[in-house]
């Protein structure tokens, strides 16, 4: 008896028939069919909305970035510079103070180092006409020149002021006027005022002294939240690809040339990187957002174990806009002289001169706007691996793209420095790491949502290497062409 005899016996099973159980009926099949139809409709509705949303986000963030980068050369508008002068007072010598009804005293309540550091450049708050002066009876005796419009939200500070001032003997309190203080945005600023410190805020225009930036109108658009990864709750069963995902490793695998499919892939991806605040510790600091939009066309070939590699063409746009700030700090010595009358019974009045020397730290803050735009073309070398997780096909991609810039303009910046970009063509190197779910649309077409980590870099004229990491989100469409 040979194997054919064995197998022929089983051939009879082909015609064998079994009666289904009572639960397996035609009606049950029809019910399942209806349910499946509903699920398919719900799935595609959701997927459609999600895809439209993703494309909307990509295009919206990209066009926002493009629209917000306007270059002054085109408008021929002079650079605008805001200057803010801050002072910090360090008391080095304090003379003896005698309490006297007629004496004039310079008050120094406490160190204002903390309050100075919190001073804001913001000029957007609205304030009421209520002044602390009206809330504090002692301060109410002060000179009219101290009337200053202060915010309503300083009630707590007012009560603090009351408690402080109640401990001060009555007398003429000399408080330096607060110049151009229509707008104060933080409570700390009010504390400065109460501490009797001099804080000056002035702005000047049409000064073109630094020459560091030439941008007149750049909106800082910190829309990082727009690019949060989107959860797509599709049903893995519906999106399941009929590819093999089992461990086929019994025999050594030999890839067959005629079995290798080829794919054409188009992908669009956008990324951003935001610096939301100035670095207070640095002399020069920059805040702003850098965007990256990337489009690429790839020809991919499958080799073995759902591993694909390919080459293609890539076009990338980098846009950045923001604001720079330069703080120059210096110390100024200030001498404060006052006189006291000392009355001793039986003796003539003595006049005493008190000389206080202060070391004031002053700072000049200069701000300006900054931006750049760079385009580049590259040849991506791409690797893909299809795997699965949570019963969903997941595609992991790695690619590296050497290329060169085709357009450069503006000043490239990091959190602490910036420099003009050379106009000549510069070499670039982009890299991308993606991992995202793959959705099979038809037998030959699938979509992949690609949360990604991107790197872009270029070499400056002075051979300086500049590189940035971006987080991004994109979509790729893949057609099987062979």
């Amino acid at each position: 008896m040979n194997w054919n005899d064995l197998e022929n016996k089983f051939l009879g099973l082909n015609e064998h028939s079994l009666a289904p159980s009572p639960s397996t009926t035609f009606e049950e099949v029809m019910n399942r069919r209806k349910k499946k139809k509903r699920r398919v409709i719900a799935y595609w509705s959701f997927t459609g909305v999600a895809l439209i949303g993703v494309f909307g986000l990509i295009s919206n963030s990209y066009f926002n970035a493009v629209n917000s980068s306007t270059f002054p050369e085109e408008k021929n508008v002079l650079n605008q510079k805001q200057t803010k002068k801050e002072t910090k007072e360090i008391k080095t010598e304090v003379g003896t103070i005698y309490s006297n009804q007629n004496s004039s005293t310079t008050l120094d309540f406490k160190s204002s180092e903390e309050s100075n550091s919190g001073l804001s450049l913001s000029t957007t708050d609205e304030f009421s006409d209520k002044s602390i002066v009206s809330n504090t009876p002692i301060l109410g005796n002060t000179n009219n020149s101290t009337r200053t419009k202060l915010p309503q939200k300083t009630t707590a500070v007012s009560s603090e002021a009351q408690s402080i001032t109640q401990n001060i003997p009555n007398g003429n309190i000399e408080v330096m006027s607060y110049e151009s203080s229509k707008y104060i945005s933080r409570v700390e600023s009010v504390q400065e005022y109460l501490n009797g410190e001099s804080t000056r805020a002035s702005s000047s225009s049409n000064s073109n002294s630094t020459g560091k930036s030439n941008f007149d109108k750049l909106n800082i658009n910190l829309t990082g939240s727009l690019l949060k990864p989107i959860k797509l709750n599709w049903d893995p069963q519906l999106g399941r690809i009929d590819w093999i995902d089992g461990p086929w490793d019994l025999d050594p695998r030999t890839p067959y040339i005629d079995k290798r499919p080829m794919y054409l892939e188009f992908s669009a991806i956008t990324g951003s990187r935001s610096q939301v605040d100035f670095d207070m510790k640095q002399t020069t600091s920059i805040l702003g957002t850098q965007y990256m939009a990337q489009y690429q066309l790839l020809l991919l070939r499958e080799t073995w174990d759902e591993f694909l590699w390919g080459l293609g063409v890539q076009y990338t746009e980098w846009i950045g806009n923001g604001q720079w700030r330069n703080v120059e700090r210096f110390n100024v010595q200030v001498t404060d002289t006052s006189y006291r009358i000392v009355k001793i019974p039986g003796q003539p009045d003595h006049k005493i001169q008190i000389i206080d020397t202060f070391l004031k730290e002053e700072s000049n803050t200069t701000t300006g706007k900054i931006g750049y735009k760079m385009d580049n073309i590259a040849i991506p070398i791409s690797f893909r691996k299809i795997t699965s997780g949570f019963r969903t096909p997941i595609r992991i991609g790695v690619q590296i793209s050497p290329g060169f810039t085709t357009y450069t303009r503006g000043e490239y910046f990091s959190a602490t420095e910036f420099q003009a970009i050379g106009k000549t063509r510069r070499p670039t190197l982009n890299a991308k790491l993606t991992a995202g779910p793959q959705i099979q649309v038809t037998g030959d077409f699938c979509l992949t949502i690609e949360p990604s980590l991107m790197y872009h870099s270029f070499v400056e004229v002075q051979s300086k290497f500049n590189g940035r990491w971006f987080s991004g989100l994109g979509v790729s469409m893949q057609w099987r062409i062979k």
């Binding site: 008896m1 194997w3 005899d5 064995l6 197998e7 016996k9 089983f10 051939l11 009879g12 099973l13 082909n14 015609e15 064998h16 028939s17 079994l18 009666a19 289904p20 159980s21 639960s23 397996t24 035609f26 049950e28 099949v29 029809m30 399942r32 069919r33 499946k36 009929d242 590819w243 093999i244 995902d245 089992g246 461990p247 086929w248 019994l250 025999d251 695998r253 030999t254 067959y256």
Partner: protein, 177 residues
């Protein structure tokens, strides 16, 4: 009712024709599913899933084969997908199992239930390949394409399935004596 009438009726969503299709083929296809799946429940589930696909895709039937063959192919695919959902499909036999000799005693006396029992005792990978090759008549090339494996893997799985069957027959014989 001919195949063509069945196909056209199903495309029209004619419930009477759809029921006729179910009545005519559900028994045979259930038998097929039982051979692939581990148990009857899974087989019945696969059968209903296969019929949903058959009804939904009837307009894709091109008359290049008989309707039954086409439906059987769908059932095989659905059953294979069910098995794939489980892990460790492909198993190796131990050396001791390979060493057992083949004896043909009392093979002719095997009943249908015994054959089902023999097949169901096979590991998933062996059972799939053996069913497709020996019962459905698929070639190794077709099996490789359907399962996404190499032809060599299909051949080796078949050889191992035969060995396993031989082992089971010997055990059966040993039990009887």
């Amino acid at each position: 009712m001919t195949d063509k009438e069945l196909v056209e009726g199903c495309i029209r969503e004619d419930k009477i024709v759809q029921r006729e299709l179910w009545n005519r083929f559900s028994g045979k296809l259930l038998s097929l599913c039982v051979r692939y799946c581990k148990n009857t429940e899974e087989a019945e589930d696969a059968l209903m899933e296969a019929f949903v696909k058959i009804y939904n895709n009837m307009n894709r039937f091109r008359y290049q084969s008989s309707l039954e063959t086409w439906m059987r192919r769908i059932c095989v695919n659905v059953s294979i997908n069910k098995i794939r959902a489980r892990k460790n499909i492909w198993q190796e036999l131990s050396e001791s199992e390979y060493e057992l000799g083949y004896k043909d005693h009392s093979f002719d006396n095997l009943q249908l239930e015994d054959l089902f029992s023999l097949i169901n005792k096979l590991p998933d990978g062996y059972r799939m390949v053996f069913n497709m090759f020996a019962v459905e008549g698929f070639s190794h090339k077709e099996i490789a394409k359907e399962l996404g494996i190499d032809e060599g893997t299909s051949r080796s799985q078949l050889a191992k399935a035969r060995k396993a069957l031989q082992n089971q027959l010997n055990n059966m014989k040993g039990g009887e004596s």
